[in-house]
């Protein structure tokens, strides 16, 4: 008995000694004092050196997209470091293209702030805020897809372009021991500034989707930051071809909601891909949109329908629907959101119809 106590106590003491030693080292050797961070040559911040560029920026309430929470595994948090970043680390190179290396782009979670530093970030990132939002409603769209409505804190607003996304923080819960951020496109209209709607599908063993589907309840608080992304509504008069599968419907919904509330008169066709009739959702809502918008048509495409389903809509995948139904691509623009194979095949079909590639906007997930 006594040997158990002695070994536990001595092990704790020795471990504590090392911990104290390392803490002292961190305070002395790891302390780089105050340094100046200059962003886009016009904003200056005095910050404490020693931590990663990503967490230094978060301290100053500037949010860079990052899905892994700074572990150097997602490769999203790229920032152009003009001066003071030190050499590129081996942990960064796998995520970098040659042009990015030449442009001094760094992973901000790996690059440490140790001296005065000068960085360049897109202006719109200053618009990114973090919110403690409250879950106001959860609606089951299908067995595996939920639509969630979040209310932002009193007096706070989000301004975004329709099509952009936010990041939702999955906190620690039973069975999950790491905090991660995951990106979800906003489905609500940007004119509704106090609410955000997200459409979230369930991914088996997905950290954030398990949290949303099995743990989140109405009234819970969640951390959301945003908006991010360069997939958004383009202001012009071209005819719009919209294509989505599954939860890719979210940014398209945002576009349509925006067009409805602004009274925008553009011809729009939305091809929505699914497998069976039970994968379809919000059909009444799209009917409403068809009535409210001057020239909008919702075209559901089912790839796995049998005789018993009595389906009289399009049979096949979305790219087949475009091959068959779209007359020509010239003079039109496209908004695609979905998985990589779907996007690749639809881009191919659209370019074959004569749509220039620079007018095909997409969001792959």
């Amino acid at each position: 008995m006594s040997s158990i106590v002695i070994s536990t106590v001595s092990l704790s003491i020795i471990t504590a000694l090392f911990a104290v030693l390392l803490t002292i080292a961190d305070r002395t050797i790891g302390n780089y004092g105050q340094v100046t961070m200059t962003i886009n040559d016009d904003k200056q911040f005095t910050v404490n050196g020693g931590s990663s560029l990503l967490s230094t920026l978060i301290e100053e309430k500037i949010f860079i997209p990052s899905a892994c929470g700074g572990k150097g595994t997602c490769g999203y948090c790229k920032v152009q470091v003009l001066e003071g970043g030190g050499p590129v680390l081996a942990t960064e190179t796998p995520f970098m293209t040659e042009e990015e290396l030449a442009d001094n782009v760094r992973l901000s979670c790996q690059c440490k702030v140790k001296q005065d530093i000068r960085i360049q970030i897109p202006e719109e990132l200053f618009n990114v805020k973090e919110f403690e939002a409250t879950v106001e409603a959860i609606e089951d769209l299908t067995d595996v897809i939920k639509k969630l409505r979040f209310k932002l804190p009193e007096g706070e607003e989000i301004s975004f372009k329709p099509g952009q996304y936010v990041q939702l923080k999955a906190p620690l819960y039973e069975g999950n021991d790491e905090e991660v951020y995951r990106a979800y496109s906003i489905a609500s209209s940007p004119l509704e500034k106090e609410y955000i709607e997200l459409v979230i599908g369930f991914v088996p063993e997905g950290i954030a989707t398990t949290y949303v589907h099995h743990h989140l309840e109405v009234g819970d608080k969640v951390t959301i930051n945003g908006p991010f992304g360069d997939f958004y509504y383009q202001d012009n008069d071209r005819e719009m071809v919209m294509v989505a599968v599954g939860t890719g419907v979210a940014p398209i919904l945002s576009l349509l909601n925006f067009m409805r509330s602004k009274g925008i008169n553009r011809k729009a066709r939305f091809y929505f891909g699914a497998k069976t009739p039970s994968d379809l959702f919000m059909l009444d809502y799209f009917k409403e949109l068809e009535e409210d918008l001057p020239d909008f048509q919702f075209i559901p495409c089912l790839s796995r329908v049998g005789e018993e389903d009595e389906w009289d809509g399009f049979k096949g995948r979305v790219n087949n629907a475009i091959d068959e139904m779209l007359e020509e691509g010239e003079g039109k623009e496209a908004y695609l959101c979905g998985n990589e194979p779907m996007i690749d095949s639809v881009v191919k079909s659209l370019t074959e119809k004569g749509m220039p590639e620079e007018l095909i906007y997409y969001d792959k997930f």
Partner: protein, 196 residues
Amino acid sequence: MIELNPFVIFIAAIFTNNMILSNFLGMCSFVAVSKEINTSLGLGQAVTFVLAGTSIINYLVYHYLLVPYNLEFLRFIIFIISIAAFVQLIEMILERYIPNLYYALGIFLPLITVNCAILGVSLFMVIRDYTFLQSFGFAVGSGLGWTLAIVALAGIRQKLKRASVPKGLEGPGITLIVTGLMALAFIGFSGIVQIS
């Protein structure tokens, strides 16, 4: 215990009792980071450096903390902790004062924490009852021996890139066969000195 000259132990640790080729310790990084001579040399240096440091710390911890309180049985866990702490400390010091070396060693330093050769050396020096100088000689020798083995393997693998290896043996497969042949070759040294 026979009184061996620390220098004899040093030589033996490089050739006859090579950590990789006779004890097969530290295999994971040996196989993973032996594609190029430059990187494997960097890793070898880092291993040697950490071995020298941790052997001193673990010698002191073992003989002045664990032995007096009859806590020898805790050595596995204590050694691991002190190795981890040492590596962390070294990383901080290098980053601050010798950034060039820090960037050169880069990702290798933290990887070394879990290199079994490091723990192996600390345990061997205790099991074989080495004195302080013997332990230090053993540690530095083991580090250099490890470096020698990984650099040699990297040289062979650079040549192998141009050879046509059967599909199923590409990568780690052929590497392990090469390691086995190198170990056989190193048996040739065994006549020089013996320490275990």
